[in-house]
Symmetry: C2
Subunit: 326 residues, 2 copies
């Protein structure tokens, strides 16, 4: 994490504060689980959500702020993210996450389910510590619900060859963009920014979150699994079709059918054929175009923000996220 | 549910209100999951936690209360309970719960994980609707944490033949008694009861919750799986040793070792031997004694409550829970 933010020392310092707070919160009597979650927390996560929180928080009146309250609110965002990661790993059966053995492959699915639940309660605690009685408690509850409905949307699309880009966008809006939106809005709000900046922050966070999810999908195809630290491509056999494949499927469903119809029985060779077909039908280009469109929306909205050093940082980060390779 | 509370028409009516509210809250865009959760909600659950809420709420000043707020708070308790049930079923791999196919066996573990998470968010929503800014938000967060730490305690004891009754009590205090305690205290608090009654309510809820968990453990041995609607005894092969077995193990660990050491490889015959040994070492009697001790504590505390019709109902219910066969 430190290296990712090395160009922005103030932000790096704020995020170190967030990480230290989360580590304190993760102290529980079951030491082996504590160890696994602490490892996940400190292993390579970029702390993007707290970072957006602080970048937008900066648009407000810094003098009047309670720093500890801000760190606590920022930490709540990352803990909510960690909770969903732990449960995602249960579902994907992932052996690795951020180069670390996942909670579920180390301790079993059972422990991972409760560990994720425990992280949800720590999220809840951090909210109560940072914003008791605030209307943002409700915004947080609604966001958590959107995330889970997004995950359930994605699941109900498993193996569906007729799924649309529109349905994909709806699921991505929930499972990824909702939390970036919350982080950005909440930062602007607790920073004391004006209502127009808060509104813009929400839009920017949303667009960045959408682009982020699309790039994630593209990286499944363009990078090898070692760089991504997670098994790629096997998603297809598990019925999880991501954006490039959905784009290609919409154009030529008949070509894919003989392979995708095999579902779990797809061989590695079948998957390779599907990937080749996806490329032939310009799935990657279309997905990248869509990601670029959302990035452009984010950039346009960032440019509407009031003059502030955070503005340049936001533009740099947005560009870097679009070009990232992991 | 209706029949369980038929002797207490006012309470039955209040619980019907809770059930209707929960059903409304369960409307989500994924209809098949909605259906599964609605089925779980309406299938045979006794709504014990909301019932205790209302029984203690009655000790306050009924005239000044917002009925809808009370129903919402009572519903939050049941939804938290439902969330933990759905995740428990993932972990136990249970095919049935309350005679209904579980979410996980109908839709897979994946969906069940997110469905449980979604129920946690509905719990959170209900709290925000019923008690925004109240100190009971914190009490709820702490209780949720206790429940999960209790579940994790239980898991870290899997296959441990040296586990103590004390460790069992700690896990039971978290995973079961904490929520009964919350329901009772919260009812008294929002009913506007005096501080001493609120304190007593917490104690009573806790004792009843402990006794309830112990009886649950006893029922695993004394009833057949058809009556219990869940597979029993197989827990032993999965390393989950419940109270009667723990009591017996403490007395004569050597006798059990050759069988329990086989862990997952235990045959049905091995399990039968273990059960016979447990009975020989008076495991059932000791567990029942412990359950009786906690019930007596509950009864003694109930008797300290101010005079009120709820007092007699609490005594009846406590007795009925101890004698229950399912």
């Amino acid at each position: 994490m430190a290296s990712y933010w090395s160009r922005y020392p103030l932000l790096g310092e704020q995020l170190d504060g967030v990480r230290a707070l989360i580590e304190r919160k993760l102290h529980i009597r079951n030491k082996s689980i504590e160890q696994a979650v602490v490892a996940l927390n400190s292993a390579g996560g970029k702390y993007l959500r707290p970072a957006f929180f602080f970048l937008f928080e900066a648009f407000g009146d810094a003098a009047r702020l309670d720093k500890e309250q801000l760190v606590t609110a920022a930490a709540s965002l990352e803990v909510l993210h960690l909770a969903t990661l732990v449960h995602d790993d249960v579902i994907d059966d992932s052996p690795l996450r951020r180069g670390q053995v996942t909670v579920q492959s180390r301790f079993g699915k059972d422990v991972a389910v409760y560990t994720g639940d425990l992280l949800f309660t720590i999220f809840f605690e951090l909210l109560l510590e940072s914003m008791p009685g605030s209307p943002y408690m409700n915004v947080n509850a609604k966001t958590m619900k959107k995330i889970l409905l997004g995950e359930l949307d994605q699941m109900s699309a498993y193996y569906r060859q007729d799924q649309t880009v529109r349905a994909y966008l709806r699921a991505a809006a929930g499972k990824t963009a909702a939390l970036f939106k919350l982080a950005s809005r909440e930062g602007a709000y607790f920073g004391g920014a004006d209502p127009e900046t808060i509104r813009l922050a929400g839009h920017i966070g949303f667009y960045i979150g959408m682009a982020f999810q699309m790039i994630d999908d593209l990286l499944d195809y363009t990078e090898d699994s070692e760089m991504l630290n997670k098994p790629v491509l096997e998603d297809i056999g598990q019925g999880i079709y991501n954006l490039p494949l959905i784009c290609a499927l919409q154009k030529n469903p008949v070509a894919f059918r003989p392979y995708l119809d095999k579902k779990q029985a797809m061989t590695a060779a079948d998957v390779q054929v599907v990937v080749a077909l996806m490329k032939k039908e310009s799935g990657l280009e279309e997905a990248r175009q869509l990601a670029t469109r959302f990035t452009q929306k984010a950039v346009a909205a960032i440019q509407q923000l009031p003059a502030h050093p955070s503005k340049a940082i936001l533009l740099e980060i947005t560009e870097r996220l679009l070009k990232r390779s992991c």
